[in-house]
Symmetry: C6
Subunit: 255 residues, 6 copies
Amino acid sequence: MVDENIDIEAIAKATSGASGAELANIVNEAALRAVRYNRDKVIQEDLEEAVETTIAGYKRKSTIISPKEKKIVAYHEIGHAIVAAKQSHSAPVQKITIIPRTSGALGYTMQVEEEERYLISKEEAFNKIVTLTAGRASEEIVFNSITTGASNDIEQATKLARAMVTRFGMSERFGMMGLETVTNVYLGGDASLTCSDETAAIVDSEVHKIIDEAYKKAKDILMAHQKELHKLADYLIEHETITGEEFMELLEENK
Amino acid sequence: MVDENIDIEAIAKATSGASGAELANIVNEAALRAVRYNRDKVIQEDLEEAVETTIAGYKRKSTIISPKEKKIVAYHEIGHAIVAAKQSHSAPVQKITIIPRTSGALGYTMQVEEEERYLISKEEAFNKIVTLTAGRASEEIVFNSITTGASNDIEQATKLARAMVTRFGMSERFGMMGLETVTNVYLGGDASLTCSDETAAIVDSEVHKIIDEAYKKAKDILMAHQKELHKLADYLIEHETITGEEFMELLEENK
Amino acid sequence: MVDENIDIEAIAKATSGASGAELANIVNEAALRAVRYNRDKVIQEDLEEAVETTIAGYKRKSTIISPKEKKIVAYHEIGHAIVAAKQSHSAPVQKITIIPRTSGALGYTMQVEEEERYLISKEEAFNKIVTLTAGRASEEIVFNSITTGASNDIEQATKLARAMVTRFGMSERFGMMGLETVTNVYLGGDASLTCSDETAAIVDSEVHKIIDEAYKKAKDILMAHQKELHKLADYLIEHETITGEEFMELLEENK
Amino acid sequence: MVDENIDIEAIAKATSGASGAELANIVNEAALRAVRYNRDKVIQEDLEEAVETTIAGYKRKSTIISPKEKKIVAYHEIGHAIVAAKQSHSAPVQKITIIPRTSGALGYTMQVEEEERYLISKEEAFNKIVTLTAGRASEEIVFNSITTGASNDIEQATKLARAMVTRFGMSERFGMMGLETVTNVYLGGDASLTCSDETAAIVDSEVHKIIDEAYKKAKDILMAHQKELHKLADYLIEHETITGEEFMELLEENK
Amino acid sequence: MVDENIDIEAIAKATSGASGAELANIVNEAALRAVRYNRDKVIQEDLEEAVETTIAGYKRKSTIISPKEKKIVAYHEIGHAIVAAKQSHSAPVQKITIIPRTSGALGYTMQVEEEERYLISKEEAFNKIVTLTAGRASEEIVFNSITTGASNDIEQATKLARAMVTRFGMSERFGMMGLETVTNVYLGGDASLTCSDETAAIVDSEVHKIIDEAYKKAKDILMAHQKELHKLADYLIEHETITGEEFMELLEENK
Amino acid sequence: MVDENIDIEAIAKATSGASGAELANIVNEAALRAVRYNRDKVIQEDLEEAVETTIAGYKRKSTIISPKEKKIVAYHEIGHAIVAAKQSHSAPVQKITIIPRTSGALGYTMQVEEEERYLISKEEAFNKIVTLTAGRASEEIVFNSITTGASNDIEQATKLARAMVTRFGMSERFGMMGLETVTNVYLGGDASLTCSDETAAIVDSEVHKIIDEAYKKAKDILMAHQKELHKLADYLIEHETITGEEFMELLEENK
């Protein structure tokens, strides 16, 4: 039932890091799409759309976003993309879009690793945080204002910074001392600190330091590439969705 | 079953920000009202009343409020309305009423955004808090006394200020560090802080600072528009419900 | 089934502030009493007794209180009543009794607002606390000793003082910052503080300050009306139950 | 089924302060005893034994306590009894025994109020704590050693001292501020502090102060009555159970 | 079914302090053993083995312990036994063994009180802790190394020291102030502190002090009896199990 | 059904420390493998593979790891192995592999004790932590970078260091004071601290100290054996799995 020409490699990369449940959802989603289009084979396009749907929700066609907010979203996404592209330990950008999704996302930047990855170095983890903070950094540089648009980035950046300090042993302060164990407590609990409140306060300040440094780096990168930022944001506002190739080309052209 | 002339746009704006469950309630409420009036079509009025019922409860005809309390409520609501109108990043006032509702509300001021909004800037969030504190500010200026009438405003203003600091990254102190994740714990829990008690104390003082500044701004605006405050409160006491247009006209006239 | 001559107004005032469940209890209680007396109509007296039963429990005829304790209770209740009467923002006294009730109350002082109230000002809230502390203040002035008789007053006064600080925005220290949300947690929980322990300690000291000031005011009022205190306590010991009118008359006479 | 000559008054006094469930147990216990002795009427003796059984458990005939421990227990109980008798606000001693009970009690001193009491003054509460600490005080004075025999006294004394500070408003430090609400949480929880940890630490030190002062007073009283202490302990070791009258007589004689 | 010559006294002493459930287990265990050996009477030996099985588990015949570990275990147990024997307030040693049991115990030293005890003095409680710490003290003196073999001793010593401070009123610091109530919470909870964190920290340091002093005393006793320690350990390694009498004799001989 | 030539001794050693449930899994696993290969006897190989499967999961044949990550994993595992081999109190290396397992492990180093062990000394516990930190130490020395590959080592090292301080009495700071009791709370709970937050903070710093010292020791050992490190890592990359004998031989050769 699955087309033989499917580029399994590409799908695998795009879904690297997805959980078993997420992969099951993607396959299911792709099969449903094939049925919807009266096809008896799942084709490449079904799988690609399924990946996006699972990550970002369905396209929300009815949502009409104002030109002002669209502009903010475009600069936000291009901020993520430029910072991702300008860092050494960072997965390449595959797609940027500002078409709202039912998940509530007003836009997103998809990065795909060049090969499947099993280890993340301290530098890579930090660079991911830099990229996550770059959306807001772009808003602040361009509009001298910040919005709630970064709240999901904040959550993800904080989780990663916290894991660096407490589970990955990536802070000078605590070294290889573990401070958190991931538990699936029925209380909806996430990761609970197994340490004293005093130690937890030091963890907080280590996490804060990482995020502040990341944000500063994101801003520095964007300040150094303002020309590209404006050109690419304009292009994105016009086209709404651009591929990684288009993005890299434009980035080169506008240097 | 729904009248074709309904101004869906207006309804959509008035309900912007409502949850799926709330929207379902509104539609249900409107249908019930149509049935009550022996109509087989839901008309504009049904929907408008339904919106209010859902937000503020049914009109509570039996409630007889004393003239003294009515005056306090009027000044409280006009306080909200004037401060909303005098701030740059603030949705226009659509209706002000001092007819008590079954929900326990003695009055309310309805604001409706001019276009659907998906992002809230730091300035807008702060201005919302200013508007929320303006009811009490008005009471204090006029009566040199404060009442429990502001307790709901206090709860909303605090929640928003807390979200600014902990989820929206809108404080200088914590920047893009997330400090709270919303959970629907079966214990009735709301948003729980994922940080140490020491950090939580700093969050408290950041939240406090925002609310104090907001209250001060609300008072400054009202002190600068005392003439309008008195004129409009008198008018509201007399008419009990006024539209946004009336309000804006009177505000202009009494400058 | 309800007599037409009932003074609904009076009942409404006496039960102002009662919850829906309490009102249902009162009506039920009144109906049962009518049945007990073989009446097919609920009369004024049924409702009045029902109001008291619901608030203070049934009269406990078997309880034989010693003359010494009776005297303490009488001074305690007259203390509440005089302080209530001598404050400007305070509901009038409707009844004072030292007949023990099954609820465990050895006596009580009933206050009824002159008109239905929806708002409580900071002064009124504080005066309520002053009245609540006046029972013990009277004991201390007269007997130079204090008893467990004030434990319920302590609980109520503390709850109200805590609400002033955390939910009504009535402290200078926290202004309009909310610190508590009422939850009906299945653990029997009441109101939980949504703040750090450090902030909770400041809340404690604010609450303490309010209660100490209230107790001082209660004592000052009673010290200034010692003659009335003794006369009224003697009268209450003799008559066991007195109406608000009797109380006010005697208070005037003994000035 | 109940004998008409029963001294209900005496039973009532002895059980004053008992809960409804405890009273039910006592009556049940008395009925069972009547059946055991083939009587169809519950007599005075059944009720008296039932009261003791409910409070202290059944006599444990098999328990053979060593002479050394018997001596410690006797001094412990006489310590309670003398301190109870030598304080002004304290219920008279009705019975002292060193016959072990199934409840684990190696002995006990029963006090019964002269009239039913509904209020406890600060002095009475403090004196109760003094009496509770007197068993150990006696052990320390006589044997210069302390034992686990006081662990139940410790629990009771601490509970009462804690209630004085947190629920009865009987500390200078907190005045009429309430700090604890009794809850029957299903977790076996007792009384939970509704305050910050900082405040809880002050509560701890207030409680500690009360208990230390009480213990000092108990020791002072016993030091001043050493002759009686030895005489009465010897007498109790010999007779194992003595009545309040015997006790008071011997106390007078040995002055 | 039970042999008439059984020394009930001896069994009773050995099981003094056992709970009802434990006694039931012992009797059951003894009956099973009689059946296993085709006897229709439970004999002394059945009961003795049953007592050990219940306390220490079945003999674990398959366990082959290395000579090196066997030596450590022997010194550990002889450490307990010598310190028990050399203290005044301490129950006599009845048996020492280094045959591993299924419970995981690699050896144990059984002490039995000379008469049934209902009270524990402060000195006795402290001496029990000294004896509990003596196993490790012996390891440290002989091997200059410490092992996980003391983990159960640590748990028991800490529990007892904690009870001394919080439930038995045996610390200078807290006197008769109770700080802990034993609860059988379904969460597996043990004894929970009913005090502030600040007070809990002082409890910790009091507990620590007791254990440190006890360990020091254990070491001092063993340092003063090194000759006996080596002789007895050698003897235990050779015989694996020795009785209290053998132990006392050897202790005397090697003085 | 089990082959008679099986080296039970070897299996027993390899599984020393496994729980009953784990042993049951291993036997089951071995039986299934025999069935899979159409054998009616479980042979040595079945058991060996079963041991590995239970500890590290099935071989994950589909996983294709990049050469760069494979190199990191090889250095990580050889780091563990060399440090294990160069410490005196440390079990010999039996196998090293960098074939990924379904459990998520990218490689592992298996150590097997020479004889069954029941006691762990302080030195041995510390050396285990040193070995656990050696994987990351190797990464840092060779690549001057650290990865998430050490997160499981961090968790295990921290658990053991925490047990040393809180359950095994192996810190100078707390001596034989117990601070943790292992509970199988249904909340997924692990070991909960039974002490104040202040004490918990000292525990944290003791744990931190142990881990930092261990990491330093691991680095020192590897710095002193860099030649072996590179030779062995190269060999492991080439062969993917090496036995303990091969490892020891190569270690000797490359000194």
